[in-house]
């Protein structure tokens, strides 16, 4: 997927000017935290499970080489072909080779963020294959020529009217109204059912890989992933090396947090564990299964201070609670992963230079860390990335000068207090008529969108000193 993170500010401005889309984001912003909270309130073991899962994930990442090797051994024993890919290009060419070896023309694809990361669909289409996304949200954005705006709900930026018009345009099914959402879902079901039955290759992701038995876990509500995994004669599972968990029970424990954090459900409709190709006694299922394991910088992340981001469950809770994501939507982030987790992951998987705006897309409110089921310190990671931008001189020179000047001043408290006292007096004087200032010196960008309230009193330190002086005087009397 082509990255457009370097134009984050322009992307955000475009998104915010679309008032209808902004209203839909506001509704989702009000709605999604409530359903998560209700679900967590009904699950009294949330905090202990979160702590347990943290220990399991840290243990697994500490010994990732061991568990990945164990998974590989078990998966091979189950009859799978296991492939490794260092880069997105290696994953894409591995999958293309598999498709071409089977002379496949039609591919049924389940939702997979990893294949979004590698741009697999575009690569397969370039080679002449027909790839259909089968998750309803992914299908909508694919048919609309767009990209997902949310890692869990890829098409939530579109209105029902948008989807209705899209289906009327692309499905040659004659005159019909598609009045209700259920009509559109039924139409997509009918159109995609044919594709499931005709596809020669199914491609899915995996929410977890189980080291002890070589199973891959797949979680969906629609059942499309299971249809991709069971109907075509060849199955390709694309995932990353950090998805391994030691035991099957670790995966089901993880689900208790993942599902509640993602959709507010206690359990998804379909949770499936797949071990490999069909057995002698099976009446259906693929005859050949390939598992492609992508690194793409993750082994470097494992060896860095950002290791914790590999514990991310991809639930999307941090997106749903982020005031920046709620304001600008997912497309502004310009790549596969959005919101706080995307602002950490994107610079690490691509480059900080290309995505320098993302770690700054943060109000430091801390909600993302609070709701993260994996307890990832996202605000601290974003702060560290901003610090790296400063040291690597990716921050604009004007900003760096300002930060350096502030640091110099902060180390001289007496000078700092007297200068800030003068500044407050000056601002109070300038804003005395209206009670606010239209323009703020050295902060034109900030005041271009809002007025600055004129200070009503002295600085905090001045007020504190005054209070302390008054108290001292009272005691003396």
């Amino acid at each position: 997927m082509e990255q457009k993170s370097d134009t984050f500010l322009a992307n955000a401005a475009t998104a915010m000017n679309d008032t209808a889309a902004a209203q839909r984001r506001d509704i989702m912003a009000a709605f999604t935290p409530i359903i998560r909270q209700q679900s967590i309130d009904g699950f009294s073991s949330y905090e202990p499970t979160r702590k347990h899962l943290k220990r399991v994930r840290q243990h697994t990442l500490n010994h990732l080489a061991h568990y990945l090797a164990e998974f590989e051994t078990q998966a091979l024993a189950n009859g799978n072909h296991v492939h490794f890919a260092r880069t997105p290009q290696e994953l894409n060419s591995t999958v293309l080779d598999i498709c071409q070896q089977h002379s496949a023309r039609r591919i049924a694809k389940g939702k997979s963020m990893v294949t979004e990361e590698t741009g697999l669909t575009a690569e397969l289409e370039k080679a002449g294959l027909q790839v259909i996304e089968t998750d309803l949200g992914e299908y909508i954005v694919q048919q609309a020529g767009e990209t997902p705006s949310h890692i869990v709900g890829p098409a939530l930026h579109k209105s029902a009217d948008d989807v209705r018009q899209l289906f009327l345009d692309i499905h040659p099914l004659g005159e019909r109204e598609l009045e209700h959402t259920s009509d559109m879902v039924a139409e997509a079901r009918e159109v995609l059912r044919t594709h499931f039955l005709q596809a020669e290759v199914g491609i899915i992701g995996a929410n977890a890989l189980i080291a002890e038995n070589g199973y891959a876990m797949l979680v969906t509500n629609e059942g499309n992933g299971d249809l991709c995994a069971n109907l075509p004669p060849v199955l390709v599972i694309c995932t990353t090396i950090d998805r391994v968990l030691p035991r099957a029970e670790d995966a089901t424990a993880m689900l208790r947090l993942l599902v509640r954090s993602a959709t507010g459900q206690p359990q998804t409709c379909y949770t499936s564990f797949y071990s490999g190709p069909r057995r002698a006694q099976d009446q259906d299922g693929p005859v050949e299964v390939h598992i492609v394991l992508l690194d793409n910088e993750r082994s470097d992340i494992l060896d860095s201070e950002y290791r914790g981001i590999l514990e991310c469950l991809r639930c999307g809770a941090c997106l749903n609670h982020c005031p920046i994501y709620q304001s600008v939507g997912g497309h502004a982030y310009g790549w596969v992963y959005q919101g706080p987790m995307g602002s950490v992951l994107t610079p690490l998987l691509t480059s900080l230079e290309q995505s320098a705006a993302l770690p700054n897309a943060c109000t430091a409110c801390g909600r993302c860390e609070e709701v993260c089921p994996a307890d990832i310190p996202l605000p601290a990671m974003l702060r560290d990335l901003r610090a790296r931008e400063y040291t690597e001189k990716l921050t604009p020179a004007r900003w760096r000068f300002g930060i350096a000047a502030h640091a110099w001043l902060a180390q001289r408290p007496r000078l700092y207090h007297s200068l800030s006292g003068i500044a407050v007096k000056l601002l109070r004087l300038l804003g005395r008529r209206k009670g606010y200032l239209r323009h703020l010196p050295f902060a034109g960008g900030w005041s271009s969108q809002r007025d600055f309230p004129a200070p009503q009193a002295a600085t905090f330190m001045q007020q504190l000193h005054d209070k302390q002086r008054r108290e001292r005087q009272r005691h003396e009397h």
């Binding site: 080489a65 069971n230 394991l293």
Partner: protein
């Protein structure tokens, strides 16, 4: 390419991984223990299972024995399709059901396109999840769980366990007996989507309706209490 990639990835991971022997890692993993026990909606496991199935937008019924289960299936078929025909997997437990008691005409095998109703026999029910668990095989083609409009799942009350931690040892015991099945499927509701404006619609790709019939002894009023609990919500 893959061999070269594998070596490069493992070399990198070895550098980033903590130094430890396989025994050390095993000991460390034992020390992790199990996940905390998840809460159930009530003390009784079977009632908790029924309550959670209903919460997952499934429907439920109870049959004291196989004959009553056949009649319950017959009622469901008549209500929804006015038919006696359906598809069932080649599960010996399904083959042994007294279908004639309700005049039903099962076809044993894999569902074909256009056949609206399938019946399966789950290996387990998990109360915590409100899910049935089955594995793919001759007795349970995966298409039967996915392609029909309505899917009926039977589960013996003795096979209902409280949590997924209770389910895995039983799955493991079966694996040791029959080998690892290709697929282990936890089903917890009809297929659904909320991808258009967050509105929930059942029947995205798989069954539009999921009906669970528990066979065997249930604690007194378990079904009635489960229905009352979910009706209150």
């Amino acid at each position: 390419m893959s061999t070269e990639a594998r070596s490069a990835i493992f070399a990198r991971l070895q550098t980033a991984s903590a130094e430890a022997t396989a025994n050390d890692i095993l000991r460390e993993s034992w020390a992790l223990g199990h996940a905390p026990y998840p809460p159930l909606p009530c003390e009784n496991t079977e009632q908790a299972f029924l309550t959670n199935v209903l919460s997952n937008r499934g429907t439920v019924d109870h049959a004291q024995d196989r004959s009553a289960a056949v009649k319950a299936i017959g009622r469901y078929l008549y209500t929804h399709y006015r038919t006696q025909r359906f598809v069932a997997g080649n599960d010996p437990r399904l083959a042994a059901m007294p279908w004639r008691d309700a005049g039903l005409l099962p076809r044993f095998g894999t569902v074909e396109v256009g056949e609206p109703l399938t019946v399966g026999f789950a290996r387990l029910g998990v109360a915590e999840l409100g899910a049935t668990v089955s594995w793919t095989g001759k007795g349970n083609p995966s298409a039967n769980n996915l392609l029909a409009e309505h899917h009926i799942t039977l589960v013996d009350s003795a096979d209902i366990v409280a949590t997924s931690e209770d389910a895995w040892p039983r799955i493991q015991a079966d694996m040791e007996r029959i080998g690892r099945p290709r697929g282990i499927n936890f089903v917890a509701g009809p297929s659904s989507t909320a991808d258009i404006e967050g509105q929930l619609v059942c029947g995205a790709h798989g069954p539009r309706a999921w009906h669970v019939i528990v066979i065997g002894k249930l604690p007194k009023d378990a079904l009635a209490n489960a229905l009352a609990t979910t009706a209150d919500k």
